[in-house]
Subunit: 663 residues, 3 copies
Amino acid sequence: MLYYGAAYYTEYLPAGRTDADMQMMRDAGLNVIRIAESTWATYEPREGEFDFTPVAHVLDKATEYGLQVIIGTPTYAIPAWLQLKCPSVMADTHQGRRPYGARQIMDITDPDYLFYSERIIRKLMEVVRGYDCVIGFQLDNETKHYDTCSQEVQKRFVASLKEKYGSTDKLNDAFGLNYWSNRIGSWDEFPDVRGTINASLGCAYAAFQRQLVTEFLQWQADIVREYAKPNQFVTHNFDFEWRGYSFGVQPDVDHNKASKCLTMAGCDIYHPTQDHLTGREIAFCGDITRCLKHAPYLVLETEAQGFPQWTPYPNQLRLQAFSHIASGARGVMYWHWHSLHNAFETYWKGLLSHDLEANPTYDEAATVGADFAKLSDEICGLQKHNRAAMLVSNTALSAVNAFRIPTCMPFSGKNYNDMLRPLYDACYDLNLELDIIFEDADLSAYELLIVPCLYAAADELIARLREYVQEGGHLLATFKTGFTDENVRVRAEKQPAGLTDVFGCTYSQFTIPEGVTLCGGSVVSDWMELLEADTAEAVENYQHPQWGNYAAVTRNAFGQGTATYLGCMPDASYLRDLITYEAKSAGLDLPEYAFPLVCKRGIQGGKRVTFLLNYSQKAQQLNWDGGDGTELLSDAAILSGAALEIAPWDFIIIKEANVCVGL
Amino acid sequence: MLYYGAAYYTEYLPAGRTDADMQMMRDAGLNVIRIAESTWATYEPREGEFDFTPVAHVLDKATEYGLQVIIGTPTYAIPAWLQLKCPSVMADTHQGRRPYGARQIMDITDPDYLFYSERIIRKLMEVVRGYDCVIGFQLDNETKHYDTCSQEVQKRFVASLKEKYGSTDKLNDAFGLNYWSNRIGSWDEFPDVRGTINASLGCAYAAFQRQLVTEFLQWQADIVREYAKPNQFVTHNFDFEWRGYSFGVQPDVDHNKASKCLTMAGCDIYHPTQDHLTGREIAFCGDITRCLKHAPYLVLETEAQGFPQWTPYPNQLRLQAFSHIASGARGVMYWHWHSLHNAFETYWKGLLSHDLEANPTYDEAATVGADFAKLSDEICGLQKHNRAAMLVSNTALSAVNAFRIPTCMPFSGKNYNDMLRPLYDACYDLNLELDIIFEDADLSAYELLIVPCLYAAADELIARLREYVQEGGHLLATFKTGFTDENVRVRAEKQPAGLTDVFGCTYSQFTIPEGVTLCGGSVVSDWMELLEADTAEAVENYQHPQWGNYAAVTRNAFGQGTATYLGCMPDASYLRDLITYEAKSAGLDLPEYAFPLVCKRGIQGGKRVTFLLNYSQKAQQLNWDGGDGTELLSDAAILSGAALEIAPWDFIIIKEANVCVGL
Amino acid sequence: MLYYGAAYYTEYLPAGRTDADMQMMRDAGLNVIRIAESTWATYEPREGEFDFTPVAHVLDKATEYGLQVIIGTPTYAIPAWLQLKCPSVMADTHQGRRPYGARQIMDITDPDYLFYSERIIRKLMEVVRGYDCVIGFQLDNETKHYDTCSQEVQKRFVASLKEKYGSTDKLNDAFGLNYWSNRIGSWDEFPDVRGTINASLGCAYAAFQRQLVTEFLQWQADIVREYAKPNQFVTHNFDFEWRGYSFGVQPDVDHNKASKCLTMAGCDIYHPTQDHLTGREIAFCGDITRCLKHAPYLVLETEAQGFPQWTPYPNQLRLQAFSHIASGARGVMYWHWHSLHNAFETYWKGLLSHDLEANPTYDEAATVGADFAKLSDEICGLQKHNRAAMLVSNTALSAVNAFRIPTCMPFSGKNYNDMLRPLYDACYDLNLELDIIFEDADLSAYELLIVPCLYAAADELIARLREYVQEGGHLLATFKTGFTDENVRVRAEKQPAGLTDVFGCTYSQFTIPEGVTLCGGSVVSDWMELLEADTAEAVENYQHPQWGNYAAVTRNAFGQGTATYLGCMPDASYLRDLITYEAKSAGLDLPEYAFPLVCKRGIQGGKRVTFLLNYSQKAQQLNWDGGDGTELLSDAAILSGAALEIAPWDFIIIKEANVCVGL
């Protein structure tokens, strides 16, 4: 069954609303609510005084109305009394000690915080363990490290360095600490890391902070598992680099490692709508989350009405919901049921407006609920078998962000995700579906591997990229790949370091393009490496009075495969052409149609399901390129080759009749 | 007699200037100086050592030269010794403890500050009480709360909440403190308010801080009154939201409440000049200040030469001075007499440049002085009888500013005054003179009431708006009116909450306009509510592919009156058309001419006085639409219907011959 | 011999590189390296443990390879152990105590810092004193005061004020401290200077901070001299106001005073390249540095590859190197030999890229090295005899910056160097070579003196300007000159104060130009004074409806000379016309050709050497306007009047055959 639901906060609502709310949920086809993760102070208003009445009330009512419930552990927002009693629970960051008030500003390693967190989790679990309507648990909420830099955390960080490097001399050497006299004389003489200007040290600390998140979630998972039944899942709502919406790889969490303790992956996805709705963030964040377990995942939060500028046009709420399913989601939950009357997020609206009555968005949700119910058997548990992947890396992310592009002075310019998203978006626009994988993934599963800005990478990863091509893979990597080792030490060898024979090209100089184009007129921006093709073919040279002898793109046959190196950032049109070429070289077929007509595919019940989604104000036409099948919403038969039209902001779902072979 | 004067700082001047200065003042027709408010350290150079020689000297000389004097209490800038002896006098703000140096950065509730302030005030009053030239007292200077957040102030704030709400449960409920676990368990466990993200709590603290200003001025007024004679006024120079000039309603002071302790209202008005001189700020700030007492007021500070970019064009100084009088001012005083040779405001120039000699601006001031003297009997004590008013509210201001428009995330976007000023400016441009009134005003005095963004309002005020229309008033209110209660809790009902029948329309959704216009092409910006007309007429629908079914403006007959609701921010041209329509509906006649030809009117000696002011580089023509009368500057007779021309940056003043009836 | 070299950090390099590096240096003609200034922690890894092995190794190898060495004292970047042992070594600034990590953030007056600095300097000197390859010493590195505001420093500042003014009354009067009650009651009651808003006090503190730099360098020089041999120079690498490159007069150091302790002046010059390479910064910074000793100077740092956006076009590295020599430099050294693999400046590239192999930039350097070797006898020790000078002043700089232009509120708007550079650049573009001199220079050496924004100046300097014109000098001064005394007290007299008869004009008002032009259409920006010509000729009036009666530029005969006053900032074209006129009036000949064809001249071996440099992508033609001579690079004979062509980014050097007379 597809989950369809919303976060539900009885604690924030006017009294006596529960029956009315749950009836409205049922009417709209909602079947799951998420509760409890935000309101520790309600359950423990004074230290040691517990009152779970609101939780029990909602669980009782949910049982009555047939709603399923996800329980969140209430640890991401702490009570005022805890901060007053134990001031050290507040994170001490690069900007100093955080004041009480907002959420997610505590030190997630603080012993007092952990003590009281464990107690409230256990108390809550005791209350909810007896309810059959509880289908799973969410650990905390969008956990990050909140830049904790306490003395204790720094001690642990230094201890981890000592364990890894043994002697300070080895550390000094690995991190280049001779520079500007930053050399460490003994493990006891380690300066506060907050002042460092050494990118190796800074990135090591960032990685250590991400590890704190992994450990924290594991710690919560262990507690929750003591109470959870086998059929109850344990999940977490990962979020993404935030640009006013979900934009890119999360810098502060290693999703790959942190998800190990979960039984089901989950995430929060927010995105622009109205004329700016493209579905890109739905796909990008979904691809990351799906690949954490290579299994269906939960969209634990996404916008209903959201920010004022996101009030959805008619049809958009439907389009969004089915786009998540088409990416492999197991369900879609809104943040949140009702719009808030107080506090901070008053203008981040839920399904209901502040008047708590039906409205156009709620009415449209009811059609989603009905269609989810109708189609669950046909599309739930969609399996994706993508043959192309994009490799992402938190190590490379931190390292790129330490230097930024293009000003290349720290703390300004574009970052890792700015470089990555144009490549992802080009694939999306071409309807080339991707897996997004981390460094430790099995690369051999893919015919085409796209590697953006893998700026920092261990020798072992470089070797696996080499092996990937050697064994027949098709690799498309960009500028900066391989430039430094995992400690952000630039490799003192020809670039792309360790891969010059794989790519068949080298460079030792680079610059910021100004007035530089490629042959077809594509403007080069952000960064350009002055490539010299060796065994490779120079696919493109820079068009410029001074740099015209250098290649911008090279392609090389190596072993059984091919390796293409993109030495600069061209415009979107060029990226699409390049990826089209690479995909075809790798034997991947792309549809004839492209964005705003988006195609997503998967297997359900052994048969191929195709979602055709129109992300525009204009109707879109296509000739059906699959086999005979059925359009699931209308139950209409679709013959191969049929001429189809999809209305603005609308979609169709075709399930083919024949069992799919070979995937 | 019209006051004409300047702030005078003998303490800042080269020695021996007093006779020369006062002779130059007399030559220019200046008749009043303001002294003493800035130079506590001169009068008490070391703790307990007093020396009022400069004050006595100036008072003696003023007596000799026939100048009147306003005495300011010297408490807004504290001596260095006070800060060194009592560090806690410095305000502890959201940004931490302020360093010594600037003015207006002390904690106005600090006991040490109050002790030493009272002593210096009393010492000063003893010195000046015997001088007949002293006509009044100014309390402090542009007093605000300087964001004081000391522990003591916060304790008083919590005590005030306890007194108002009794139990923390009631407070938690009223402010929605369950959100993000901010619930208060006991009055003793109140976190530092500086970290709060709760808008209800933040706005309550802002209101409390404004109340501190009211109390401080009352405290000073009580001290001063012990010494003041009955014929000496007590005033204060209120200032306004600052945008490099006086822009809008002051967020940090409740002018309405703070002015209760005064016998005459006063203010400081600074505005752009040269090509940017419009008179809008002169009118806006004047309308606020006049309505505090509904009586003539003092412009205690306005620019002479001011900032370098304000060096006035020929004629502008005259135009400005008479514009103040036309708004109902009792006098105009420059800040300041001489330009400062040191310190900080060297480039905020006075009537004299740094060479302390006559200059074009001084020469033009002399013509003002002469005309003030000539016309005092004809225009001094002008009474205004405006039939339209604009309702402003510090409560709504804080609440709007907590969420801002249009990004609707805190701390960015446009604020209350950004929404208010376009409405005010449209009235000004149409020559519709307004009273600007606060929440407790008697609404029944007005035929037309304009209510911009009354976002937070108590039930009682909503009820009075209803009654106003019911009884025959004409109400024009904008988007966001009525949205929350006085605690910034969104009303959980159909919007405009409590007024849906009055306006005959409702809405439950809103968005940020992008590419949206009104029928005549007016671009909609900032905010748009998706209005559905019920009993109202939909005056305008949005022009947009998706939002075209929703109304932008509705008009409704209700009771004896009419209520128009403006659901968005249209452009200035549309606002003028709308207000013209509303004014006519309310039976108010507007002149045929509009900005840059500005008309201001009042009654003096029972007869109507009309100021016709040309705010442009081009001569303006009009046909005189009043009765027969006299142009006061030229003594020329003016017949009804006469063709008049007003030179660039010039003005005429017509007093009609017949006694005015009916106002 | 011309020096050609690079900073060399064996401490930052992979092990075992020295031989390879030095062979590559020799191959490229490099003959000098600079070492040791950055790596105190390497030499003293733990307190009191010294290890100068890397230094000795490099000196041994340099001896072997015939390289000369400059030794830097390693005090600008402190070891972590020093900060942990003595936290007070970190500068306590306007922004609070600086955290450890970056360089140049210590308190250069802290006793602990000085104790340990002296010890490491002496230890180093003992190691290096025996090496003949050491040709000189560099004190510290780009020393500034790092805004130290420690209590101890402030005590010394107050003591210096007490010594200068004697009584607080005199200080209060000089600084105008009555303003806003800032009066000082006693020397013991001096508030923390960091909060001051008094520009006189703030500028006095800035001057005091600059004096700390002078004292610090003198202290280091005294130590170093105990060890240095007579033939070893003592230098320092001064830097400049930084705008992402070397832009203007250094605000934080008085180069004039600080250079007294040196035997050879030195500096660091960084500048844009590629299409933005103009040579302006090379000339500007070189002119300042050369005039410190009026002798050849060292360019101790300049970019090789530098920032990514600076990767030089072919030929640019050569053009740059010879441009320095043409300005009078004794040598050119790159920062730095090899690109860094770690830390912070990874993207500030040296001669070698990270692969440590030859590359196009290195290859081009080799041609420079060869030509330096070939031409040393012909061009080394170039003497400049400029007849025009620009007068700059740190006192005026601080004062202008305290108020800024044009907003004229502190802390925004344009600063002193923004006003100065357009004038300098106009001279540069016209090939009018300048000396840049400080207040105490002998003005009589110059036919033309350009004085930009001499906003704060003592009476004595004003008198010398008067005397300069009186005795026949040609003075061109701009707006704001003379406005305040050396304490930033505006002179209470007609402006330009003290010089109204010299300039034959006065003004008492000024404004910010908006839509104002000069006669030929030049747009006036930033600032305009409303000049009234007295004895002067009004060369230009403002073109504006209101300001048209005021002069913008006046010219006056006074005594034996002439004085031109520029009351506003016109555009570059007008500035060039004005300076052309002034130069001709002063009897100075300008070449017929102008930027991008740049001409620099000097005398070597009694004969005139002319560098003709093409700063553009296009070949430039000229007719040789000198006498018969030889083009030194090609050894070609050049006859007077010959038609010459200079290739893009190329240059020629002509040495005339006849001995130069008269200079």
